[in-house]
């Protein structure tokens, strides 16, 4: 009896060792025929803008997969994209992600389209299961490799602030005023601007906040007008952008306005009347910050390749600001090539190499400048440009006023 038990224990131990060896081989990416599963979350059934933004995000993922598959896939494995409709709801997102992880088709890579509440809900689960991920809507700590070693952020307010400082200096402004919304993003970017510009020797004459539910910003603008800044830095999204333009017009104040990325994402400024205010005197003083990859004739060749790949699949519903998942798939492919495997840890290590980010030939931003100590996006100031408002065609802005 004792002998039988000992033999069974030895057999069980051997089976465990063999299983472990087998797992190790798979993790190293030995099976080149097995698809590389990319799961992208998005609010497909959400309302309004969120659904449209998710549409662009998902389209860019599929386009990235097509381009990467044409070049041999990720580590030789063909990319297979699965779309998870989270309806813009963190609870639904979490449930669907758990289902996917526990299924036979566990994802190798997860791409989050946003908003950041969904990233915050999903990231701990991905971390728990050692799944590589890219986050289009970062949280406060999603770019910290100490907390989320396998996640990389694809956008960051910090790098857009650096681009503002460079542009303000280039235009020789010595004093600016700031107006921003009361949302977490608005407060963050308003304070970021003030700190960075003050450190750069630019006088910030005022940093005014408005309630995002307010219908008129005349008081805040009048307060800034009285201090006579050379330019106005503006944060706003949706209707508040219209109220800001109306209020400035009402004051008869002619001052250059530099809108942030969220201003450029507002349909009012990308549509001519009667649907918007493009081409009217209200936007005559406005320029908006956008990534060069989202501007016609300003992006590098990879941007053209991305737009071509996306339009082959379908029309692009919103600006290419939401197309960073294309870059994520290309970064994953370059990382797997460098690591010689699709092991998530090895790929994450490779993503932090500058040579890998260069080889990825990303389109929206030329570099994300990930490092071993920071997985936050650190796009170069030169990757941004400031353009007058224009219509969108194939997700891209024109480079001239109203074009």
């Amino acid at each position: 009896m004792t002998r039988r038990l000992a033999a069974a224990a030895v057999a069980a131990g051997a089976a465990l060792v063999l299983a472990a060896c087998g797992g190790g081989t798979e993790a190293a990416g030995g099976d080149s025929q097995k698809p590389y599963r990319v799961l992208v979350t998005g609010g497909v059934s959400a309302q309004g803008v969120l659904a449209a933004n998710s549409g662009t995000s998902i389209l860019s993922t599929k386009a990235g997969a097509d381009v990467v598959n044409a070049a041999g896939g990720v580590g030789g494995r063909p990319v297979e994209v699965t779309v998870v409709d989270d309806a813009g709801d963190p609870t639904q997102a979490l449930t669907r992600i758990r289902e996917a992880i526990n299924s036979d088709a566990k994802p190798d890579l997860v791409l989050m389209s946003g908003p950041s509440t969904i990233s915050a809900a999903i990231l701990p689960v991905l971390n728990q299961h050692d799944i590589l991920s890219f986050c289009g809507a970062p949280t406060a700590d999603s770019g910290d490799p100490g907390k989320f070693p396998l996640n990389f952020d694809l956008s960051s307010p910090a790098d857009s602030v650096a681009a503002y400082v460079a542009e303000v200096k280039r235009r020789d402004y010595t004093s600016v005023g700031i107006i921003h919304g009361s949302s977490a993003y608005g407060v963050g970017i308003g304070n970021g601007w003030e700190k960075a510009l003050t450190e750069a020797g630019v006088t910030v004459v005022g940093n005014e906040e408005y309630d995002v539910a307010a219908l008129d910003m005349t008081p805040q603008l009048q307060s800034l007008q009285s201090r006579q800044p050379q330019a106005l830095l503006v944060d706003g999204y949706g209707a508040p952008v219209g109220y800001l333009l109306q209020s400035k017009d009402r004051l008869g104040w002619s001052v250059p306005m530099m809108g942030d990325l969220s201003v450029s994402a507002t349909s009012l400024v990308t549509n001519p009347p009667p649907n918007g205010v493009l081409g009217t005197p209200q936007v005559a003083d406005l320029t908006m910050q956008v990534p060069k990859g989202a501007v016609k004739n300003q992006g590098a060749p990879p941007a053209d390749e991305m737009v071509a790949a996306m339009t082959r699949i379908g029309p692009i519903p919103t600006s290419l600001l939401n197309a960073v998942n294309y870059d994520a798939v290309k970064l994953a492919a370059a990382a797997a090539a460098d690591a010689g495997s699709t092991d998530p840890q090895a790929m994450a290590e490779s993503v932090t190499k500058e040579s890998v980010q260069e080889a990825a030939k990303t389109a929206v931003y030329s570099r994300y400048a990930f490092t071993p100590t920071s997985h936050a996006s650190n796009a170069l100031p030169t990757d941004y440009t400031f353009i007058p408002p224009s219509t969108l065609k194939d997700g891209r802005f024109g480079s001239g006023a109203g074009s």
Binding site: A213, T218, A239, P273, P274
Partner: protein, 285 residues
């Protein structure tokens, strides 16, 4: 003066919402939380008629009146009439407000839509300040509505019946007045008014799915300051809220804007608990 015009225009919008609240309150003692949302629907109908369908202004006005009156009538039948007490009606009308917020976003999306004004859109200088013509129209409309409705309340049979219903619903019914029928039609009329006002409010605020929520609270504060049931009170309350909001944002900072409005509300309620124009009703016990 530009700041004063901007505050008055904002206040006029709040006053128009408060007038709608009052009409329903007078007829049925119901506080219709969805009144601001009905006005929001009016702005969307105005956008669809003027921009999408390119219909003449008069046709769009009729369309907005019919659509929003219908929405209000449905609300009365579904969320007000079957509910026995006014406290529960607060919940059901709030539910209607939430449904309208969701529906408008589902139909028209989340981005702001421009509602063109059928008059001039060029700024005018007046009394040392600059103001949009539509804002002057909004201020004028708020004043005109209060004058006309106050006149109707005192001179027409319907108005007198309404005052009777506001004072004592049961006694009015004993006099042979069909209070349920009047309450229904006043509810629908408040919707019709909100629909028509959409043509004037939309050019200032855009048609946007967050408009109802933005207007509902300030409209309520205007009503409480002016006094429940008082039409002149709604006007004064609305204009006061708009002015205080603007002046506080300018001279104290935006973070004190809402705070100043609620300080005003507290001061008014502490000195006159029924609001500036509200009447204290004595009850025989």
């Amino acid at each position: 003066m530009t700041l004063v015009w901007s505050g008055l225009a904002l206040g006029a919008v709040y006053a128009l919402v408060a007038i709608g609240y009052n009409l329903v309150y007078l007829s049925s003692h119901t506080f219709n939380f969805a009144q601001a949302q009905l006005m929001m629907v009016g702005t969307f109908v105005a956008y669809t008629g003027l921009v999408v369908l390119r219909l003449p202004v008069v046709v769009v006005a009729i369309l907005a009146i019919v659509v929003v009156a219908l929405a209000a009538a449905i609300e009365e039948r579904v969320a007000v009439r079957p509910v026995p007490d006014h406290q529960t009606q607060l919940v059901t009308t709030l539910g209607v407000a939430t449904v309208l917020n969701g529906l408008t976003q589902l139909i028209w999306g989340g981005q702001p839509l421009t509602v063109p004004f059928f008059g001039s859109e060029d700024l005018v200088s007046l009394l040392g300040g600059r103001v949009y013509p539509v804002e002057l129209v909004l201020i004028g409309l708020a004043v005109l509505l209060v004058v006309v409705l106050a006149w109707l309340a005192n001179r027409s049979m319907l108005g007198i019946a309404l005052i009777g219903m506001a004072e004592d619903r049961d006694a009015t019914q004993l006099l042979g007045i069909d209070v349920r029928k009047i309450a229904f039609w006043v509810f629908a009329a408040s919707g019709a008014l909100a629909g028509a006002l959409g043509l004037f409010v939309g050019p200032k605020t855009y048609a946007v799915a967050t408009l109802g929520a933005a207007l509902a609270l300030k409209g309520f504060v205007a009503l409480a300051i002016g006094g429940f049931g008082s039409l002149p009170g709604a006007l004064v309350g609305g204009l006061a809220v708009g002015l205080v909001e603007s002046l506080a944002a300018r001279y104290l900072g935006a973070e004190f804007s809402n705070l100043a409005v609620f300080v005003l509300l507290l001061v008014v309620l502490m000195t006159r608990p029924t609001g500036l124009f509200g009447r204290l009703r004595e009850r025989v016990v």
